[in-house]
């Protein structure tokens, strides 16, 4: 099956480009200390707010730090926040959706009402309230994004479960004496994962955007740790004199998020068996 998916994925040049960019970004993030020309926090008071030149291709910020190096180090933060936050969201969403879809009845009704409640509270303000209580930091922002972003996954997984649990292979598993948790985790979940993968890919894009917005507002990753969002905070403060502080980190966010969205789109098309016609 993976081969069919890959063959279909390969046909979409935009998604392949997205995948290549994601791989490059992951490499950059992994080897940030080797790639970045300067330290992310190396201050140079004699060279503040200097426009891009050959020594500092993205210019320097208000403390004379090299913006390129900070963007490179920032990629670590953005990618790890994206992955961990979505990991949390996927886990919660899958468990809640699986339980609701598998057991149905009152359990389903209660859990889905809970999903409705979560969806009716504006996520942004919910996150603000939680951050106000817990003090902003990189860990808090990851957890808060994860805890407020699982509802769509829960709905997806529930819908998959509603159809899958009626299928013969579930009956067969029950006939040989498998218990509920074995049926849920070993038999149904692996068959329900395709839409979850797609949702996760789009979710990472969304989480990176959210993290950057909160860090930009001073409520996410705290300086001096570099994140794309908090570099843009000083970009805003120096908008009248230093355009490079705003342009480059924002561009990094745009490219990253766009790549994940393109890959998500490609995955959605290639994972949908209804579109597989005459391929075996």
């Amino acid at each position: 099956m993976i081969r069919i998916v890959w063959r279909r994925f390969r046909e979409n040049p935009l998604s392949v480009t997205g995948l290549i960019i994601i791989l490059i970004l992951a490499t950059v993030a992994l080897f940030a200390p080797l790639i970045a020309p300067y330290g992310p926090a190396t201050i140079n008071v004699y060279n503040v707010l200097s426009p891009p030149d050959s020594a500092h291709p993205f210019g320097t910020d208000d403390l004379g730090r090299d913006v390129l190096s900070r963007v490179i180090w920032g990629s670590r933060i953005s990618l790890s926040v994206g992955f961990i936050a979505i990991g949390i969201a996927i886990t919660i969403g899958t468990v809640i959706g699986a339980v609701a879809g598998f057991y149905g009845g009152i359990v389903d009704a209660v859990l889905m009402r809970f999903v409705d409640i979560m969806l009716s509270i504006p996520t942004f303000f919910l996150m603000l309230a939680a951050i106000a209580v817990l003090e902003p930091s990189i860990n808090i922002i990851m957890i808060v994004i994860g805890l407020t972003g699982w509802m769509d996954v829960a709905r997806l997984v529930r819908a998959e479960f509603l159809t899958l649990k009626e299928r013969d292979f579930v009956l067969a598993a029950r006939a040989i004496g498998a218990n509920d948790s074995r049926i849920i985790f070993r038999h149904i979940i692996p068959n329900a994962l395709s839409p979850v993968f797609v949702a996760a890919t789009f979710g990472i894009a969304g989480a990176i955007l959210t993290e950057s917005a909160f860090s930009f507002l001073g409520l996410g990753v705290q300086p001096p740790q570099a994140s794309w969002g908090n570099i843009l905070t000083s970009g805003k403060d120096y908008i009248t004199v230093a355009w490079w502080l705003s342009l480059f980190p924002g561009f990094a966010i745009l490219i990253t998020v766009l790549s994940y969205n393109l890959v998500g789109e490609g995955l959605r098309d290639s994972l949908d068996p209804r579109l597989w016609q005459n391929e075996k």
Binding site: I121, F125, A213, T240
Partner: protein, 324 residues
């Protein structure tokens, strides 16, 4: 129809109940309870303020009593007084709601008049150059950090070209202006925030309208309309469009929380004294009662938005009413 509305209202009760529960949980999320947090974090939390807070949340009482008290205050929309300036939270929020609503309604309007034609046209001309360009725009729209775009626009139109003001909702000398000048002044201040908060929505909604329209044009009744020899424009406008637009009404209702949330970003960037900026400033200063008040009121606004969307859906789609 009135039965439907009644049922719909009844279904809001568990939601409101859940909102009270979640907001109550958040108050108690802090290690050591909210009073401790205030004592540590906020310089404003003097011994007296701490006493007030204890009384406000009834923290010296057992948990179920605390929750009952919270419910009572919730019903009366009484969230106590702000730590920052001692004003009543409800008053602070009421002062700031109009400008936020104005911007959100304007951008919702903009989203509707731009996104729906865009989506419908690209569905009708599926796989055309126009469709491909729209899809490209949609992807860029989904992927662009709105606050970054706001910075770039500020730089271009505010700083470089000097065409538009970059903060506030009115000029300092607004008092001496004629009515017409005031309207123009307001428009110049609002154009960037409104455009930017509509931007993401336009991308999303044109996508929804496109897929909704694609769904409809495959239906049998469209084939029938074509078969009986109607002009293509008539098929699209009178037969397809009406059915394609119905589900979009509901999705518009679902967009309300996103729009209100987005106002946090735009209002803090453009220094607009709305509820979003208040939410941001209260989080920064850990103004606990204010942020809880905003959370609850924005959730209620969202419920009202959904209610209006559902009722208008039932209004345009008889199947919903009859089924109930």
């Amino acid at each position: 129809m009135s039965l439907y509305i009644l049922k719909r209202l009844a279904s809001m009760i568990p939601l409101i109940f859940g909102i009270t529960l979640i907001s109550f949980l958040i108050i108690h999320l802090a290690p050591g309870g909210p009073v401790e947090v205030e004592a540590q974090m906020s310089l404003k939390a003097s011994a007296q303020a701490r006493e007030n807070l204890k009384r406000l949340y009834g923290l010296d009482k057992p948990l179920h009593v605390q929750y009952r008290e919270w419910l009572k205050r919730f019903v009366k929309l009484d969230f106590g007084t702000s730590f920052v300036d001692g004003k009543k939270v409800t008053d602070k929020i009421r002062e700031r709601i109009p400008v936020t609503l104005k911007i959100n309604i304007l951008s919702l309007f903009l989203i509707i008049i731009i996104a729906i034609p865009l989506g419908v046209l690209s569905a009708v001309k599926q796989y055309s150059l126009f469709d491909k360009l729209t899809t490209l725009f949609v992807f860029l729209g989904f992927s662009t950090p709105a606050f970054w775009l706001a910075l770039i626009m500020m730089f271009l139109f505010g700083v470089s070209l000097g065409l538009l003001p970059i903060s506030g909702i009115q000029s300092i000398d607004v008092a001496g202006m004629t009515f017409f000048e005031r309207v123009m002044d307001q428009a110049r201040h609002l154009i960037l925030p409104v455009l930017l908060s509509a931007f993401g929505g336009i991308a999303g909604f044109s996508r929804y309208s496109r897929s909704s329209m694609l769904e409809v044009v495959r239906q049998d009744y469209i084939r029938t309309a074509r078969a009986k020899g109607l002009k293509e424009s008539e098929v699209i406008i009178t037969h397809a469009l009406r059915n394609a637009l119905m589900p979009i009404v509901t999705i518009l209702g679902l967009a309300v929380p996103g729009l209100i949330g987005g106002s946090v970003i735009f209002e803090s960037i453009f220094a607009i004294p709305g509820i979003g900026q208040l939410g941001w400033m209260s989080t920064m200063s850990r103004d606990y009662p204010t942020i809880m008040g905003i959370l609850v009121i924005s959730a209620i606004l969202t419920l009202i938005g959904n209610l209006i969307a559902d009722i208008s859906y039932a209004f345009v789609d008889p199947r919903i009413r009859v089924k109930e």
